[in-house]
Symmetry: C2
Subunit: 554 residues, 2 copies
């Protein structure tokens, strides 16, 4: 239906209505704003006089919410970083108190929002097709949320084993966190891809949610580092539960359980942050429905490939798991230098082989893209921009660690075989990140192939269920380049999973190998690794998600 | 003149020519590319099939140059940060060696570029009106460059006083730096606002220049911190010249001189970086000449104001200088706690008064903007976007220091009057930065007033000389809001100057006041201040530049 100029003008000026008091229910926008709800799907609004004030207000709302987020994030960062050190008079329960308060506010906001929008189901204004790549909206968030909940249960169990000698906040915190996770997932899954009514209120709420997730992430990362501190003295707090007894077997299970599940909680927080950020970007934005087709693609795992990528990837994955287990056992159990060195040698060799293969494969993939005749996709797409920015940004963490390693190895003596392996490992790490980023960015910027394109124009189902039906359809001709790209992305995906698992579940050659620790000292090197490694781990996670998208789009 | 469709197509496809070998002179672009040089000033190019490959190549070039910059910057960062510490086996001459090599490469690139473009004066393709706000292109860069040169002379003099016990690189470094500054200023002033031919080569060269400037900045900031280390033991290197004698008076003059001039060199590097970044953004970009008028505004200092802002600002400036001198003398000369506390009290009270006034004035200014009927300027403008991003980003430095201060003061005892003053100071610092950012961002996003607007449409002189003629014209009616805004921005400008001078020339209440140092310890607090304060200082500098622009546009 062709919108009349009047309707468009009305729609454009609707955000002006937000200047009314904030305690009004977001969905009761009044008669004038009804135009907004039944707004036709116009690609964009004409720049008229009416939009000017709305634009001003939008800029103001954005700025205010950014300022709110910056201040909250800095406050949380200050407390979390101070709380990490033994000698600083900020305790972990101060941090937990702040986080609990933040989470409670967000829970109240989300519930308020859910209650108000559920009262009028029409309030869901517009679907954002960009925000819905398979990985982001998909099961991954729910998966991580479930693991986070299990972690919270373990944490509650652990702390309640000796609640008498703890401050209450240590038990309240995981309880509130569990509620927070449930409420947030419920909210993200029901509303995540919709534009919000009531922009100002939404922006601030979203930024608050984003900051809370980031603060929880910072706290989890710090907690994990503190937990590992026992092995490498870094001046961090050693955990205030030392005076309490955790001798019973159930308590030990709880303790180990929750620390093994930390990586999932860490990823959940970052995932949720990324999702909330995309929503924040979309508040008040008018979506271009021309590019609707991009993410409505089918996921066909075991079809039209030679299985080479998957098989090779699975071999790497399984052998990587074996290497990790042997490494952990050897490094943690024995204090003999020779056994430790053997374990390190094995770890480095596996990584060098894996990274070398991945680099070659990425280069191959980029070369194939050079000959690819598909058009570049140049539509504005905030989700993709965020993806690329996160890839490039998160890679900086690993880059920094590698450069510091290289400088330490080159500048120090003796130059033994472990050092040579470490140097190769660091150099390959840099190369692999670079080539993989290039490959992924090229892949994300391609238009989906023509035949998919045609199908998608017919697709109307917004809930991604079509792929079930589509996957039952007969096979079509597919060119060899696409097959190769699929092999490549599948192999890279599986390799990235193992490279995520290794550091996420505790392999720390950066500390087991004394070189850098001796070179930079006990305070600088742990600081570098503790700050940069979480980004490196997140990079792997995020690369997996992006590679899945590249796989689907090939 | 209305461009024909054919000419536009040709112009759009011109960057494709860059796929030819790199050793070709950038200005000999061949017959087809002539269209580029005589290209009509079209607001934008139509998205056609021809642009696709050029776009791909542009994206590739951008990505490659970003990767180059990231890797170089990380390498430099690693070496600089390692070189700052005594116990790490990376020495300052390693850092100087790297910087010297980088500067030499940039010098060669710039000379190559200058030689090639001077051979055909027509190669200057297009003026970017955005890149030319008064402050950025103006005398400021030259001013800072001159001070940097003087610093280099002092440095050469200082090091050559005892060249026998030094590595040669310590003398070579300032010499190369001086050449680098001269060549770069010559280049920036002759070519800075022009789009480049030969995009790929230009992008890489520009990114190399940007990274070199940032590396020099990092090194200068670190050197300055190292110099101040004597007073607060932080484990940094104490300077390898201790074993040499610097007893002669001339040597002492050289030494003090070059440390007093460091702030200018630091600002020069950042200024040059910002300028090079804008140029990098503009490579291959098509400029919208509709918004040409924005920066062609007149600078009328002593007209149409009540002088209240200037007078008040000057009072603050002069009294601030007095406070700084008294503070420095008292803190550095006496070791009595009471005298130090007196100096600190004085310093805090002055700052509290100044920041309080500035906050109030900023709020007033923002309120006036609420009632301002001028249109918002919504044209895309990379220079302004960079300005705003730099303002927001640089403010983070001061925010972080303030938050850490607040946490330390609130969490520690005893709570004496100095702590109360420090707390007020930290809180007001946060408030003032926030309000000032809001005021400046609002100001930068306004259209210039109507009467200027009309004049500018008649202005054709691209070299900004018109303001001389314009300023001789008769006075016009000016409304009270604009007058107030001018008063406000002039007052803020002068206040920001004194708030820049104080930390740039050595006032460090963060260390003179023991509170935070005792709370966070000898390694964490210096790390926080040394990393964040340079951004805080740059913020003041940059705010002065932005306020000048706001003043001119009001």
């Amino acid at each position: 239906p062709q919108p009349s100029a009047g309707t468009q003008r009305q729609a454009a000026s609707a955000p002006q209505g937000q200047k009314r008091p904030l305690n009004r229910a977001p969905c009761q926008l009044g008669p004038r704003d009804e135009a907004f709800q039944h707004r036709p799907r116009a690609p964009s609004c004409p720049p008229g006089a009416g939009i000017s004030r709305a634009q001003v207000w939008k800029k103001g709302g954005r700025m205010f919410s950014i300022l709110l987020a910056v201040h909250l994030a800095l406050l949380a960062c200050t407390l979390v970083s101070s709380g990490a050190f033994e000698k600083i008079a900020v305790h972990d329960y101060d941090v937990f108190f702040l986080l609990t308060v933040m989470m409670l506010i967000v829970i109240v906001w989300i519930i308020f929002y859910l209650v108000n929008t559920s009262r009028c189901p029409d309030a869901i204004l517009c679907k954002d097709s960009h925000a819905g790549p398979v990985w982001l909206r998909g099961r991954s968030l729910i998966l991580f949320a479930i693991f986070s909940l299990v972690m919270d249960v373990f944490k509650i169990g652990y702390y309640s084993s000796f609640y008498s000698c703890l401050s209450a906040i240590k038990i309240i915190y995981p309880i509130v966190q569990a509620i927070f996770v449930i409420v947030q997932v419920r909210w993200l899954c029901s509303l995540c891809l919709d534009l919000m009514p009531f922009p100002f209120f939404c922006r601030c709420g979203l930024m608050l949610t984003l900051t809370t997730n980031l603060a929880v992430w910072m706290s989890a990362v710090t907690d994990e580092s503190v937990h590992k501190e026992a092995k490498w003295a870094t001046g961090m707090r050693s955990g205030s539960t030392e005076e309490c007894n955790c001798n019973s077997q159930i308590c030990q299970i709880f303790k180990n359980g929750y620390f093994w599940l930390y990586p999932f909680n860490i990823e959940y927080s970052l995932f949720a942050s990324a999702m909330v950020y995309v929503m924040w970007k979309n508040v008040g934005r008018f979506i271009d429905h021309h590019s609707h087709h991009i993410h409505r693609l089918k996921f066909r795992l075991f079809r039209r490939t030679f299985f080479v990528g998957i098989v090779l990837g699975l071999i790497i994955l399984v052998s990587g798991l074996g290497v990790l287990i042997v490494y952990e056992v050897r490094v943690n159990s024995s204090h003999e230098a020779s056994k430790k060195n053997e374990a390190l040698t094995m770890y480095y060799i596996f990584n060098i082989v894996c990274l070398g293969l991945m680099s070659l494969v990425c280069i191959g993939g980029s070369v194939i893209y050079r000959f690819d005749k598909r058009d570049m996709d140049r539509h504005k797409n905030p989700t993709r921009t965020l993806d690329v920015a996160l890839l490039m940004g998160a890679a900086l963490g690993q880059y920094a660690i590698s450069y510091y390693s290289i400088v330490a190895i080159v500048a120090s003596t003796p130059r033994d075989s472990i050092s040579a392996l470490n140097l190769t490992y660091a150099l390959l790490m840099i190369a692999q990140h670079t080539f993989q980023n290039i490959f992924i960015i090229e892949g994300l910027h391609r238009q989906p192939p023509k035949e998919d394109h045609k199908h998608d124009l017919r697709q109307k189902d917004p809930y991604g269920l079509t792929f079930l039906v589509q996957s039952l359809a007969g096979p079509k001709k597919i060119n060899w380049r696409r097959k190769f790209l699929r092999e490549i992305s599948m192999f890279l995906l599986l390799s990235n999973i193992i490279l995520w698992i290794m550091p996420a579940f505790g392999a720390r050659p950066q500390f087991d190998n004394d070189k850098e620790l001796n070179f930079y000292g006990d305070s600088m090197w742990p600081a570098i690794v503790d700050i940069c490694l979480p980004f490196g781990i997140f990079y792997r996670m995020h690369a997996v998600a992006s590679l899945l998208e590249v796989y689907i789009m090939s």
